[in-house]
Symmetry: C2
Subunit: 347 residues, 2 copies
């Protein structure tokens, strides 16, 4: 069985201190997750906009300094300036340049029991390089050989792509570059080498034939990736009619690699599914759930910044239980609790 | 100076024998090129459709056999079948499945003088794996350490991506998998390692912010690629207003790596440009032409299957001259002749 924690959401935007005065936190969602020093760490996608002011359009921006640091700032445009074009909810175009109405960074939240969290005062991963100019989103953490590899979506005027970084202490990180070129997100790195190679799932965009699907890749060193294969395509169901994508790093079980994927279906509703991949040949799908593991049913999932979304990119195994952390309605962080046997028996 | 060869086009569709009876060759264009055994080899993107028949829609398809081979075939749909939807010029949708009206393979043409070519009777690279189900397009050949690496666009129901293969004899090839995931084309691999790593240019699609641009990547082994960087963006000119992309493998000169890129500008017109990259740090652009090197001016360039297109993905240096092979109007193969000093002096 799986149960949504009755104390959900475990983190709300109001629990997160804005990066600077004048910013307001709209979302603290899509948490990556890992165990570190007996604590559960969540890596919140923290989406911030600006406190509104009448007659003015205000957008968050990051200023890059010559010494390689950066700081958040606020751009102001007069609403009646003929050079200002409002662009749906995403932002403003000013003299041909895009400015986003919200910008994301990654913030850490910490918990002893996996249910009650304290959110750090300061951001953990902020835009500091041009490939991150429009924000960093949706972190996944994979522990490999004692080090913690963090991949995340890097958004910039050149599109979106997946970046890799590594840390030992969750204080400082070393950036390792873009590992998947645009347009790619939902990257999940396996926690160990298989037959001498690192493995990952990824999700290229698909604007041509077909719909966005889950792909597989392999790497000798975590930095360079190849042998790309499309391994899971959306089915013609109400749950997957638009696209599918991967979730947290795969969990090793006796039966295979367990992954929890998401589907985007009719009415842009997101749900979660279990899939099992072969242990030795992880591009082979050996079992795939027909019915969702989790769908938006609670008010905190159906209503919010973007309603009817459940999206998981962080799973923690601890004391025989599996904590499936997920973003709800692109606004809050929640958890559902299960165990490996139940998950394997669920499909 | 650069001159378009007065005998252009050097290859026309009528010079190419169809892959099977019932097929018709619409285009023999966008040639990759290399020197091999004192001959210039061109690698023609050969686009084939079906000989029309009244009341019937006919599309080319490849049938995959269980032994790993494949053969071309013809699908027929009744025009008045309610399940048949005609889809602009690209093909047919039948019961939710796409069928293309033309399909490409790679055919070799051979020449002693680089100007007069004999086209092979049979295809060189045909779809034989599912990632190539909708055809193989736009080959680039890079000679590295005595072997010939061929990258090409692999098109399938899962979108388009870039595949790598290797050959020693241009008779058989060994496929090395997809090296750049969807959506990516215009990949040009440098002919030697630089500071221990292979290098390439590539061109991801961009459906979000910005426009499709030229990216850089590096690899320890030609199979796995990373450290992606956006290095050249379209300028706001009539020649580049839609997008830009790379061309043939870079040419080493004393001044830097010379590349001939393409721009897609106003009215979907394609033109060619010279760019110089740093020899040691080839992600650094050290010079970029303001004016095009080559634009569509001749009838064979302005009129054709898709008019106003010049597109180069094959360049050969020989006897002090540079032969710039290019596709014209998505229909024929042409050549323009110059030399390194002139090209370097041209911008």
């Amino acid at each position: 069985m799986i149960r949504k924690y009755e104390g959900n959401p475990v983190i709300k935007p109001s629990d997160v201190k804005p990066s600077m005065e004048g910013y307001v936190v709209h979302g603290a969602f899509n948490p990556g997750a890992t165990l570190f020093n007996d604590e559960v760490l969540l890596f919140l996608r923290t989406a911030e906009g600006c406190v509104p002011r009448e007659g003015v359009v205000r957008t968050p921006v990051y200023r890059f300094n010559e010494d390689g640091t950066a700081h958040p700032d606020i751009m102001e445009f007069q609403r009646d300036d003929p050079d200002v074009q409002l662009k749906d909810t995403r932002g403003v175009v000013y003299k041909g340049q895009d400015y986003l109405s919200t910008m994301s960074h990654i913030r850490i939240a910490r918990s002893r029991d996996g249910l009650h969290f304290t959110v750090d005062e300061a951001p953990f991963i902020c835009p500091v390089v041009p490939t991150e100019k429009y924000g960093v989103e949706d972190a996944r953490v994979t522990k490999i050989d004692g080090r913690y590899y963090i991949n995340y979506t890097a958004v910039s005027p050149d599109s979106w792509a997946t970046a890799l970084a590594v840390t030992d202490d969750f204080k400082s990180i070393e950036r390792l570059g873009l590992i998947f070129h645009p347009e790619n997100k939902d990257v999940a790195i396996f926690p160990e080498k298989i037959n001498g190679l690192y493995r990952a799932l990824h999700r290229p965009n698909n604007s041509g034939f077909g719909r966005a699907s889950i792909w597989y890749a392999e790497s000798p060193d975590l930095l360079h990736w190849g042998n790309h294969k499309c391994i899971l395509r959306p089915r013609n169901t109400e749950w997957e009619s638009m696209k599918i994508g991967g979730g947290a790093p795969p969990i090793k079980t006796d039966d295979g690699w367990l992954i929890i994927t998401h589907g985007k279906g009719d009415g842009q509703k997101y749900s979660l599914f279990c899939v099992l991949l072969d242990l030795e040949e992880p591009w082979k799908v050996i079992r795939r759930a027909d019915e969702p593991l989790l769908t938006p049913t609670e008010t905190y999932e159906t209503d919010g910044f973007f309603g009817n979304v459940v999206f998981s990119n962080g799973v923690v195994e601890r004391d025989g239980k599996v904590y499936i952390y997920y973003g709800a309605a692109d606004e809050t962080a929640c958890v559902a609790i299960s165990d490996i046997d139940s998950l394997l028996a669920s499909f």
